[in-house]
Symmetry: C2
Subunit: 200 residues, 2 copies
DNA sequence: TCCCATAAACCGAACGTTCGGTCTGTTATT
DNA sequence: AATAACAGACCGAACGTTCGGTTTATGGGA
C-alpha cells in the first residue's frame, strides 16, 4: 500500500527539521524507514521530489492556519483560540514524533530556509501567508477597538504586529533552546500582559 | 600576507549565510575567492575549521553585544543605544557585503543552526548569550521602574522579554522576507509604541 | 483447492559525479 | 637560498540515481 510512502514522508519530515537538506542522505532515510533504496525510488522519483512533498503535506498543512475558525469579534478569544490550536499541534507532534523517549527537534525554520533555496516562489508564498496572518490580526484588533474592548494610542497595525512578533520571537528562541514545548506558555504570558495594557 | 586568509573568511561568511554548511562547497569558495585548492589548504586545515573560524570572527564578534556601552539608568536611552548599534552593524555589512549592487542575504540563523549541529556546546553558548541579554534588559527595566520612568502591572521579566521577543520576531520575519534593512525601522516603531504604554 | 498470471513492493549491486582533502610542483617574496 | 603563496592534477569516499532481479499480494480459471 502507500503506508510505506506515508512513512517515508513522516521520517523525512523529521530529518529535514533536524538537519539541512544536503545533510539528510538517502542512506539515512533508507535506514530509518527500514526500507531499501529500490523501495524508496519506487515511491519517489528523487530526493528533491520527496522534499517538495514534505513541504506540501506538512508545512502547508500545519502552518497554513485558518483564522476564520477563531472569534471574529473579540480579540482575547481570538488569540486564545490561536493558542489552543498551537498547543494542539504541538501535542500532536510531540506524541507522533517520538523516538526512544526523545521528542525529535521541531526546527521548522530549517525546513523553510531549505525550501526557500530549493523551491522557486516559496519565499513569496511565505510572505503571502505572513501577510494574511497580519491582515487577520489587524481586522480583529480593529473590531476590538470599535467594540470598545481595547483602547490604545497605538495604531491597529502596530498592535497586530506586536502580537505577531512576540509569537515569532518566542518561536525562534525556543527552537534555538530546543524546548518547543515551553513556547506556548511564554507566548500566553506575554500576550496576556500586552493585552492588559491595551484593554479598556 | 594574511589578506587572502581574511578574504576567504569573509567570502565563507557570506556563503554560510546564504546556504547550509553542506551546500557550500570548497569549489565555490575557491572560485569566489579566485584562489586555488592549494591556496585554501595553505591557510585552513579543513572546511570545518574554516567554519569554526567564521563563527568565531563574525558571529561572536558581531552579535556578542556589550550592553554596558548603553545607558544603565534610562530604558529609552538603553534601547535607542541598541537600535543605533544594530543600525551601524547593518550599514557596515550592507556596504561590505555587496556583490553586483546586490546585498548578500544576511541569514545569520542559518549560521547558528549549522553551528549548533557542528560545534558541540554551541547551543549552550547561544543560550548563555540570550540569558545575558535578558539579564541586561531586566536590570534596566528594574532601574527604570525604580526611577519612575515606567510603571506597569507587568513584571520586570515580562517587560524585558517583550522587548526581546519583538526584536527577534522582527528579525526572523525580515530575514525570511529578505529585507534585513527594513528590520530596524519596525523594531523602533514597536519598541516606541510599547514603551509609551509602560512609561509613567 | 490449487495453479498461474499479473502487478505492486522491495532489494542491493553498480554507475557516474562530486565531495573534501592530498600532493607535487611552480612562482613570488624576502 | 629559503620559505611563503599559490596552482591544479589527483585520490578515495560518499553521494543520488539506475537497473535487473526477487519477493509478496491479489485475483481469476479450472
Amino acid at each position: 500500500m502507500n503506508d510505506s510512502r506515508k512513512y517515508i514522508l513522516k521520517i523525512a519530515f523529521q530529518l529535514f527539521m533536524q538537519k539541512s537538506y544536503k545533510e539528510v542522505t538517502l542512506k539515512e532515510i533508507v535506514e530509518k524507514t527500514k526500507l531499501s533504496k529500490g523501495a524508496f525510488y519506487h515511491y519517489f522519483p528523487s530526493k528533491e521530489q520527496l522534499f517538495m512533498e514534505v513541504i506540501d503535506s506538512y508545512y502547508y498543512a500545519y502552518l497554513n492556519v485558518d483564522y476564520l475558525k477563531f472569534s471574529q469579534d473579540n480579540l482575547k478569544d481570538f488569540y486564545n483560540g490561536i493558542l489552543e490550536q498551537m498547543q494542539a499541534e504541538i501535542n500532536k507532534m510531540s506524541t507522533e514524533f517520538q523516538v526512544d523517549d526523545k521528542v525529535v527537534p521541531m526546527n521548522y525554520y530549517l525546513l523553510i530556509f531549505d525550501a526557500i533555496n530549493l523551491l522557486p516562489g516559496f519565499r513569496k508564498r511565505v510572505i503571502e501567508i505572513s501577510d494574511r496572518e497580519f491582515e487577520q490580526w489587524r481586522k480583529i484588533v480593529s473590531t476590538a477597538r470599535a467594540k470598545g474592548e481595547i483602547s490604545s494610542p497605538m495604531t491597529d497595525e502596530l498592535i497586530a504586529k506586536t502580537f505577531i512578533r512576540i509569537n515569532d520571537g518566542a518561536g525562534i528562541y525556543f527552537i534555538l533552546e530546543g524546548n518547543v514545548e515551553k513556547m506556548n506558555f511564554e507566548i500566553k504570558e506575554l500576550w496576556d500582559a500586552f493585552y492588559n495594557h491595551i484593554k479598556t
